[in-house]
């Protein structure tokens, strides 16, 4: 009865990893379950690092990683891109500033500019919101602006994007960087934040999708080099164009071009 057992084992997939992707994968999982009755997709969070580790050790069938993998990390794993997430600077809606250059962002975060006045805004100290150690958004941000985390002088360190949006919404002098998709959605809901154009490029999901906006991260699923049948099925399902609608719904960008 060994094959039968294998069969039943294959009915269940365990997916762990980045909390950013988890809601998306849950929704995908539900849809997959509907299409394949009798299967079960269990999604758990715990961070990208965890996703990688679990996938490597076989604790999970699939790992979720919310950043591009380094060559070393890729060893022994197959990586499937399922979406993109643009990251941009946000400020409170009351802030008159509309765009920013990379230099300005850099100066603000290293403490060279401390007052909005210096950027042509009102006389008010800048409240800088920064991400916590290890987050993929942070790595992306540091890489892009060529900053060293040690020299950044932040006023508030946050964990999740939503927290950043809420802080900025409540503080007219705050600046932060969050997922463009989430920010767009919140703006549409009337939350008083706005996305700044970066180096002249409007921060919109459209610009992320067409590759114009430079600051973005990958949303990946990783699996062992020899995935099981169901695993492969699910990964294919997640990458399927039919499901791009779901990805958009979750305020991410489908990986059209990439």
């Amino acid at each position: 009865s060994k094959p039968a057992q294998e069969e039943t084992q294959q009915q269940k997939l365990t997916i762990t990893g980045a909390s950013t992707i988890a809601p998306l994968v849950s929704v995908l999982g539900k849809k997959f379950e509907e299409k394949h009755p009798g299967t079960r997709i269990d999604v758990h969070t715990g961070g990208s690092a965890r996703g990688l580790a679990d996938a490597n050790q076989g604790l999970a069938d699939i790992g979720m990683v919310s950043e591009a993998l380094t060559e070393e990390e890729k060893k022994g794993l197959k990586v499937f891109l399922i979406g993109l997430d643009g990251v941009s600077i946000i400020v409170n809606k009351a802030n008159p500033i509309k765009s920013m250059t990379s230099e300005q962002v850099k100066s603000i975060y290293t403490g060279k500019i401390n007052n909005w006045k210096e950027l042509g805004g009102p006389e008010a100290p800048i409240t800088k919101i920064h991400k916590a150690e290890g987050r993929s958004t942070l790595k992306l941000f540091l890489n892009y602006f060529k900053l060293d985390n040690k020299f950044i002088k932040a006023d508030t360190v946050i964990g999740d994007d939503q927290q950043g949006i809420k802080v900025v919404a409540g503080n007219p002098n705050a600046i932060g960087y969050v997922s463009i998709g989430s920010a767009e959605y919140e703006m549409s809901q009337g939350v008083p934040v706005k996305l700044l154009a970066l180096d002249g490029v409007e921060a919109t999901t459209a610009n992320v999708a067409n590759g114009k906006f430079p600051l973005m991260r990958e949303l990946n699923l990783v699996v062992k080099n020899s995935p099981g049948k169901l695993t492969q099925q699910f990964v294919d399902f997640a990458q399927n164009k039919d499901n791009y609608e779901i990805i958009t719904q979750e305020h991410f960008v489908p990986p059209t071009k990439h």
Partner: protein
């Protein structure tokens, strides 16, 4: 009796297990860099093998001490209100309220702090996320614990003492300060310790309202990062020594509470 022994031993084993788990997880980094590194390194930067926890330790102590100092009188006064001031119906309502407050998830408090309290403080003294916000929100979190335990202990005070006090013509305040609080002393102390523990270990609220900047606060309005917030912020992304170092934060928290508990025992014995 034997059953009880077995149960208690079981509980003891669980406690030991958790301690051992913490120790084991923190061992690698402790072996490599030693305990002292956590107090003397230049900064907290596990990526560069710098593990200074002192600022977070100090911040944690500040925020918890602040919360306990504010919440203890509030909690005890609340319980007094239920027992000796409020008419029965109001007391009943108030008690239900405390019970509810005791079960509100940290996220909900944190959320409220984020949306209401922080903008308020920000208007007064930016950036808003601060030691003060942490103290206020933690106060809200632990006050019901103290209030409920105090309430239960007041309920346990025999009527005959109250009757005695009343018939001596003592005022309410006199009865409370000289009789009720001394009688309930040991329970109140226990309540405070439990509440302190809860505040020490609380993650979500401080994570959301304190600002999470690693520094020794120089004022009430300075943002801080506490040890549990540190664990929660970085655990998901930490590997190897970094992860281990986070468990050391956990050990350190227990050390703080050990000091507190021993202190409380000393007070009680005197």
């Amino acid at each position: 009796m034997y059953l009880l022994r077995i149960i208690a031993a079981f509980v003891g084993v669980i406690v030991v297990f958790i301690l051992v788990f913490l120790m084991m997880e923190s061992m690698p980094v402790l072996n490599q860099v030693g305990l002292l590194a956590f107090l003397t390194n230049d900064s907290w930067n596990p990526g560069d093998k710098l593990y200074n926890l002192t600022p977070m330790l100090v911040s944690t102590v500040f925020v918890v001490a602040g919360a306990v100092v504010v919440a203890t009188p509030l909690g005890i006064l609340s319980a007094l209100f239920c027992h000796y001031y409020a008419p029965e119906k109001i007391a009943h309502f108030y008690r239900r309220l405390m019970e509810l407050l005791a079960g509100v998830p940290g996220v909900v408090y944190g959320f409220w702090g984020l949306m209401v309290l922080i903008p308020l403080i920000n208007r007064w003294h930016p950036p808003g996320s601060s030691l003060l916000a942490g103290i206020l929100m933690l106060t809200l979190l632990i006050m019901p614990t103290i209030a409920l335990i105090a309430d239960a202990s007041f309920a346990g005070i025999a009527d005959e003492y109250l009757h005695g006090a009343i018939s001596l013509g003592l005022t309410r305040s006199g009865t409370i300060f000289s009789l009720i609080l001394p009688i309930a002393r040991s329970e109140l102390l226990m309540g405070i310790i439990l509440a302190t523990g809860r505040a020490l270990g609380e993650t979500m609220i401080v994570l959301m309202v304190c600002g999470n900047i690693v520094q020794i606060p120089d004022s009430l309005f300075a943002p801080i990062r506490t040890l549990p917030a540190n664990i929660a912020l970085e655990m998901d992304f930490a590997l190897g020594n970094h992860r281990s170092a986070l468990f050391v934060s956990g050990l350190l928290l227990m050390a703080i509470s050990l000091v507190l508990v021993l202190l409380a025992e000393a007070i009680k014995d005197n």
